[in-house]
Symmetry: C2
Subunit: 280 residues, 2 copies
């Protein structure tokens, strides 16, 4: 998603939803990442749940069209037909992420959709939501090896050297998928001991390792402790080598996070470790 000022085309993209707009924004980013050399500014307008608010959107779309000298693009998730119709009256390209799919789903499922506004992110009292909040709390309490209590309740335990991506991945697994993801840093003391701590070995089937290239790790650590032994490429290479030897010896599955985003690490990990959990 480029917001580079120098490229040729500059468009305003409105993300409009009667809920948070997060679903619309997610698909919008995916679609726009398929286009190169397109510069745009994004305007997200959530909670458009009345005709009045929709009319305000119509005005803002008109203003953007005038300012840009070209029709804006509107990407929306709107369940109310009247609100959706108002937006279609603008001269913007309107991509309605709901309208296209609700009708075929109604036909296939044999039931009418409820057309209820704000359903996606509103089930605060559901057991799935409660489990997700519990997972976030668990993950925070088990970040960076803080605690090895209740590791039997963990869905996954990430291991790897400091700054190999364990914390962001753990948090993402908890927030996006409601998984209880502990993480434990492999440190020189572990390498000297020559084996994983007993607390972890007990949960062997839950362990998943992250490794990373020495150069990338060094550059990440430089930000934290510039010119330290900790951040030197030589030390990084040594730690990574030791960690990989240990994971190989202990039969821990792992992946290289060097060129992977936290979403890619999370999806790969779930495919590997959670294979039985996907069909819930």
């Amino acid at each position: 998603m480029s917001t580079d000022q120098s490229t040729e085309i500059k468009r305003t993209v409105f993300i409009i939803s009667d809920g948070t707009g997060i679903t619309a924004e997610t698909l919008a980013h995916s679609l726009l990442s398929q286009f190169e050399g397109v510069a745009y500014r994004q305007i997200r307008i959530p909670f458009v749940d009345s005709v009045e608010k929709a009319q305000d959107c119509v005005e803002r779309i008109g203003e953007a069209a005038t300012k840009d000298g070209i029709a804006p693009i509107v990407m929306s998730t709107l369940v109310n037909a009247e609100i959706a119709a108002l937006l279609r009256q603008t001269n913007a390209l309107v991509l309605d992420f709901f309208a296209a799919f609700i009708a075929p789903l109604e036909a296939a499922l044999g039931v009418k959709s409820t057309h209820t506004i704000g359903r996606t992110h509103s089930s605060v009292n559901s057991s799935a939501y409660t489990a997700r909040i519990d997972a976030i709390n668990f993950t925070m309490a088990h970040d960076d090896g803080i605690s090895s209590a209740e590791l039997d309740k963990a869905d996954v335990i990430l291991v790897g050297v400091s700054r190999s991506g364990k914390t962001p991945t753990s948090l993402y697994l908890a927030l996006q998928f409601g998984l209880r993801a502990a993480n434990y840093p492999l440190i020189p003391e572990d390498f000297e001991r020559g084996k994983l701590p007993d607390d972890l070995r007990k949960h062997h089937h839950k362990l998943f390792g992250l490794t990373i290239s020495a150069e990338r790790l060094s550059s990440i650590r430089q930000e934290r402790r510039p010119d330290s032994h900790y951040a030197s490429v030589d030390n990084c290479r040594w730690e990574i080598d030791q960690a990989q030897k240990m994971m190989r010896r202990e039969g821990v599955r792992w992946l290289d996070s060097t060129t992977k985003s936290i979403e890619e690490i999370a999806a790969t990990l779930m495919q590997t470790v959670m294979i039985d959990r996907r069909a819930y």
Copy 2:
């Protein structure tokens, strides 16, 4: 999204993507939340980036159709036309979240899409991705009032009584939006002092409060410390009352998190505090 066994219709929903499948899953959940009384099992198959893997999907779709006695539903984000075509040959209802929108976008933008696999979550080296990881690290270092260093770099500082939803919201803001979200718990010492700590007052324009009903707070705290003074409804009511008085006195904007999901809190907060940041 219901997986209740007792409801009448039971369908298998495949989420198939050449990337992580997270975009497809997000829209799938939004769409399915519009249908009540539909029970299904979800099978997410990420990284389907070859004809071979697509053929494996076709097989699994066929098996599910046989097992369920009814055609599965496939929701996909696939940029490769050959892979997408293979899935359309099954007897499943295939909702292709890319195909419907790429052509109109190409026409509107005047450029062809790159049809590059895995673009959505792959820009590990982009400045936006680095900023997001920095935001996650910042947020972790500023959880629960741990540190008031570098609060000048925060995008937002959440305040509220213990267990009012600050930590999950802060993490979500960092992970989803790349915002540096600090959070600070309002505790009895603050109420006795009668004002916010000076470290926070300096950043008044960044403050955002969360409040919650006494009953809900009490039930959340009960989980943590059963039958404690901390968790009693009376104490919760007193703390919330004190916190609201303080926020009112100090002119801090706030919202009630009682019935709101972290997505809804985050979207509302960004609309309120970050109003100038949305158009980036």
